[in-house]
């Protein structure tokens, strides 16, 4: 959102953690300290790609109580719309970027007596900050870190060195080691909170198995990395301002609105937080909901739409904007 205060940062350091994951360290351009944050926070990074500005959310992976800089770890995505490719190929030390203030949609539950983290691949990122915070506070935690191959476990060496193998377990499916969720979920002390981040299939599996193991929903937390999926272009009409905007095939509705120089409320840009919920006035075609926020009833009602991630299969969408 152009009207939202942002932070001006400079790339201080880049490092290839693996062939597909790059660590970026950002410091304030003014030299002042950056705001402290809480583990699980993300920032939205404005990436000036050749195809226009992309605003991608990335979890902060550095220590929440260290304002000297922010770190993010970005995986090169094969289905990338250009954001992660830009971070991997075009971003260099010295470059300046605008980022949002940190926002936390995946916080630690401070009532927990123990925190159990399940990470799949690049899903490790929010836990990197959470664990640094808990290590400072003396909080009890365990990390169970699953990866397809050793190369995709970008933070493996770092977390094993920091927390030891008693608190960190890794599972490499190319080596035939996998998490046994029923064993992991059984016998955990009362008051344990479970957090999962990674591919949708892993998250769905963990949520299902936690329920079957008798864990209350209140103790289970998840964060999905969702990018707006591509589709066919369509025409977006804004009922209140009377504007008509073309939404490209690799553009979200929100991005098309922003490219037209307009503002719309948004926060997570991944269909999770609900901030960008918008009323549907008319739709020639089918709404394709990709969010994790609306209830099945709300989806069926066809009156609400999350512009950061959902699109339509059809010609024309009219929104109450």
């Amino acid at each position: 959102m152009t009207g939202t205060p942002s932070l001006s940062v400079r790339v201080a350091e880049t490092e290839a953690l693996t062939p597909t994951v790059r660590r970026i360290r950002l410091v304030s351009t003014s030299g002042a300290a950056l705001p402290l944050f809480s583990g699980g926070s993300h920032v939205v990074v404005n990436l000036p790609t050749p195809r226009g500005v992309l605003r991608n959310p990335y979890s902060l992976t550095s220590c929440p109580t260290d304002g000297s800089g922010y770190e993010i770890c970005v995986q090169r995505s094969i289905t990338s719309r250009g954001g992660s490719l830009y971070v991997h190929e075009a971003l260099n030390p010295g470059d300046t970027l605008d980022i949002s203030y940190p926002v936390n949609l995946f916080p630690l539950d401070r009532r927990a007596r123990k925190h159990l983290f399940v990470a799949g691949g690049i899903g490790i990122t929010p836990f990197l900050a959470m664990m640094q915070q808990l290590a400072q506070e003396g909080g009890a935690f365990e990390l169970h870190y699953a990866m397809r191959s050793p190369e995709t476990g970008a933070a493996r060496a770092a977390v094993e060195a920091r927390y030891g193998t008693s608190r960190v377990r890794t599972y490499v499916s190319s080596h035939g080691t996998r998490i046994s969720l029923p064993d992991l979920l059984e016998g955990q002390p009362l008051g344990t909170h479970l957090y999962v981040c990674g591919p949708s299939r892993l998250i769905d599996d963990v949520l299902l198995q936690a329920r079957e193991a008798g864990w209350p929903d209140e103790n289970v937390h998840s964060e999905r990395f969702a990018a707006p999926p591509p589709g066919k272009p369509f025409v977006l009409e804004l009922a209140r301002s009377g504007r008509s905007i073309q939404v490209g095939s690799h553009q979200s509705v929100l991005e098309a609105i922003e490219a037209a120089g307009l503002d719309a409320p948004n926060l997570c840009r991944g269909g999770a937080c609900g901030q960008c919920e918008t009323g549907v006035v008319a739709c020639d075609g089918a709404l394709e909901h990709h969010d994790h926020f609306l209830t099945p009833d709300e989806r069926a009602g066809g009156r609400k739409f999350m512009i950061c991630i959902s699109r339509i299969a059809g010609e024309r969408l009219v929104l109450d904007l």
Binding site: P189, G191, T192, R211, A213, P216, E218
Partner: protein
């Protein structure tokens, strides 16, 4: 029957079986025993459900007829009968200390009892929303005087005179989950002495 008023006021939707729970920790006070006996009538409350259950029953001075024998007849994994809410909380703490995830807590009885169970469980990291509850028996309330912070048990009337500081308190629906108590607020702060007659609102 309790009715919704303000967001802070807890509601107790009724006991139901969590069929995924590995251990069922069921607490009842007084009339709450009948909530368990009624639950036992539901098709999901199988013998296996009660075999995985620990029942903590507190008569709390009431004469309960055949309730204890009826609870025992459900063949729970364990049945403890305890004389007072305090002794029940002591036993609850003992159980929670070694409890594992997969334990589901159920509480039935008066509101002060349910509130104590929820507050005790919360100190073990259990979210109040994951305790399954049913209100039975008296509507009496636990009330904290917001002025002197003194706590009063078994409040049935409003306004009520604070047993600690003597102020006349209007009993609000504003509730503290941490304390398991409603707020009592001075009713005649603006017009001293103008105190309406006490009504039995929570018999």
């Amino acid at each position: 029957m309790l009715s919704p008023s303000i967001f802070s006021r807890p509601l107790y939707p009724g006991l139901r079986v969590d069929r995924f729970a590995k251990v069922n920790l069921i607490l009842a006070e007084g009339e709450g025993a009948h909530a368990i006996l009624d639950l036992a009538q539901s098709p999901e409350a199988t013998p296996a459900f009660f075999a995985r259950a620990t029942l903590l029953f507190c008569a709390n001075g009431a004469s309960m007829g055949s309730a204890v024998a009826d609870l025992d007849a459900l063949a729970p994994g364990a049945l403890w009968t305890l004389p007072t809410i305090d002794t029940t909380m002591f036993r609850l703490r003992g159980v929670l200390q070694t409890a594992t995830m997969g334990t589901r807590i159920y509480a039935a009885g008066t509101e002060p009892f349910i509130g104590r169970v929820i507050a005790e469980a919360a100190t073990f990291g259990v979210d109040p929303r994951s305790v399954i509850t049913e209100h039975r028996g008296s509507l009496r309330r636990r009330v904290q005087c917001v002025h002197c912070k003194g706590m009063m048990e078994e409040v049935t009337h409003s306004p009520v005179t604070c047993a600690h500081c003597g102020l006349s308190l209007f009993v609000r629906d504003h509730y503290s989950r941490r304390l398991g108590a409603f707020q009592g607020v001075c009713i005649d702060a603006e017009a001293p002495g103008d105190i309406p007659a006490a009504e039995e609102l929570y018999p």
